[in-house]
Amino acid sequence: MSTTVNETMEIVYEKPKTLTESPTHYCPGCGHGVVHRVLMEVIDEMGIGEQTVGIAPVGCSVFAYNYMNVDMQGAAHGRASAVATGVRRVLPDKYVFSYQGDGDLAAIGTGETIHTVNRGENILMVFVNNGIYGMTGGQMAPTSLCGMVTSTTPYGRDASFIGHPLKITEMIAQLPGAYYVARHAVHTPAAVRKLKKAFKASFEFQKEKKGTCFIEVVTNCPSGWKKTPLEANEWMEKNMFPYYPLGDIKVPAAMK
């Protein structure tokens, strides 16, 4: 059988133009790359790349600006939402997103997270919850599950000693400044489609200056969890999703 290239073949899928050509540094199976892509796809489709400023955190996605072909600032560990506040306040008609891990957003940066949302800053906060400190080599995160073995909880997380995994997204939803709060995942094509819708809605709300949109993405960390990508996803579905259930947490009437 011979193959011929059909010049008129229709392109059905391609790399968003707001993603650079940089080869990925993320580990095999890691969810960060997918979240990056979904975010950039939405920015492309909405045609807002020229009006968007992103804030990269300290964490595995510290190099987000190597992949995201939009103007970006790297923030100190935990301070992404304060930096985003500074940017959005002086550029009130642009789109601003922060992209943060669980250590960044829910441990060292908890104060900034709560107060940013409480002020209803018109930004999208993307919260990538992989239940562990990926970048520094797999230490316990505020979101690590009870019993979870990490390099700093070698006998499993003991809630009576170190506290319970923090459901910061549910906390955030209590704040009047939070306009739209949802929890998503990127482990299946269906999940990716849902996340995409959530990002799109968030940027639309931002345009209307409705307040903070906060989207958690529960994802994996095969390297940190010491699992193969497949095992990691299975473990995530079995253990993370029951504790961090996917779906809308606070939705504006307009979306219902």
Partner: protein
């Protein structure tokens, strides 16, 4: 020094308020701050003026950590931006200041110092000299440090601070204290519009098709690259030396030179007058830029005939730089008060008289003591 235009008619204002008003007149675009005595009037003044300045972002942050990181964001987005605090709050900002210096963002920070260490006292002090001039946060970096000694300079140095910060793309600090912040004095405020802003091409305002993306970062994983960044910063600090400023009062015939900045320099001025009345030839060297420090100017006075007396409201910080400048050519003495205590001219006179006595009895060799 820029040529700022001033109002013809003076106003009676607190130092903190003059600084705040000057910032608006200097074209401030974003202010972020957190209350702390003795500088809260700055935040209070600006929030009060806010309705008249709808285009200026004036925001009370949840902490000094948040303030400085908001400043980082706003500066990166191209805004003329400022934060102010007092000693403990400035300590909290140090990580953020290091990021701002490393990312080469211009901004203005004012430290209305109070006595430390720890929670310390709300009374004026100069205990943050090391922190301000030697770096303060992690890594090899510096700030431009301006030390006002009057309410007039509290206002003027806002303009000078923004001008230098933008020209050299680095953070500038006004290092002042609770007394200068709280006291009322006559001030001719600088006029609106006398500090034009240059267009910058590195800001994150949205990547246009026509250009590459801009990203602001201080992360360079390869040591070779990080060393180049450091070399570039050091190069900038060398160029900054041309901005050294220092006030010299009665130095030509002086046998004893007082070296002091800010509030201590005012007190030294008074002590100098009294000493001259008593026939002792005293002069004052007042560093205005604490970084870059006027090493060469001070060195030019160093010889075996002269004595130096450094007066500070701390345990002896700037005196180390004076000693470096003098390099053993003269004796350098120190008089300091700490914890919010302010030295009186009389205390300084006692020191001056003791030094004059030494000079008289020891003759020409006195300088070697």
């Amino acid at each position: 020094m820029s040529t700022i235009q001033h109002d013809e008619h003076p106003k009676l204002m607190k130092g903190n308020e003059a600084l705040a008003e000057a910032s608006l007149r200097a074209g401030l675009q974003a202010y972020f701050g957190y209350p702390i005595t003795p500088q809260s009037e700055i935040l209070e003044y600006l929030t009060e003026q806010a309705p008249k300045h709808k285009d200026v972002v004036i925001l009370q942050a949840e902490s000094e950590i948040a303030s400085i990181n908001m400043v980082y964001g706003a500066a990166g987005a191209g805004a003329r931006t400022m934060t102010t605090s007092s000693s403990p709050g400035i300590s909290l900002m140090q990580e953020g200041i290091s990021y701002i210096a490393a990312s080469e963002l211009p901004c203005l920070i004012a430290n209305v110092q109070r006595g430390g260490p720890g929670l310390g006292t709300i009374q004026p002090a100069q205990g943050d000299y090391f922190q301000a001039t030697k770096g303060g946060g992690h890594g090899d970096y510096h700030l431009i440090v301006l030390a006002p000694s009057s309410v007039q300079e509290m206002a003027d140095f806002v303009f000078e601070g923004f001008r230098l910060a933008e020209e050299y793309r680095m953070p500038a600090m006004i290092l002042t204290d609770g007394a200068l912040g709280q006291m009322m004095e006559k001030v001719c405020l600088p006029k609106y519009g006398s500090l034009p802003k240059k267009e910058a091409n590195w800001t994150t305002t949205g990547k246009l098709e026509s250009r590459e993306r801009n990203f602001i970062t201080s992360l360079h994983m390869e040591s070779e690259k990080m060393e180049l960044v450091n070399l570039h910063l050091q190069d900038k600090y060398r160029k900054l030396k041309q901005e050294v400023r220092c006030e010299l009062i009665n130095t030509k015939d002086a046998d004893i030179l007082l070296v002091a900045y800010g509030l201590s320099a005012r007190i030294c001025g008074k002590a100098m007058e009294i000493a001259r009345g008593k026939g002792i030839n005293v002069g004052v060297i007042r560093p205005i830029t604490l970084y870059p420090f006027p090493y060469e100017i001070i060195a030019s006075f160093a010889d075996s005939m002269r004595m130096f007396l450094t007066v500070e409201m701390n345990a002896g910080q700037m005196v180390e730089d004076v000693r470096l400048a003098v390099n053993g050519k003269s004796s350098v003495y120190f008089k300091g008060r700490m914890g919010g205590m302010i030295p009186t001219p009389e205390e300084i006179i006692l020191e001056i008289e003791a030094l004059a006595e030494k000079q008289r009895t020891m003759g020409q060799s006195a300088g070697y003591l």
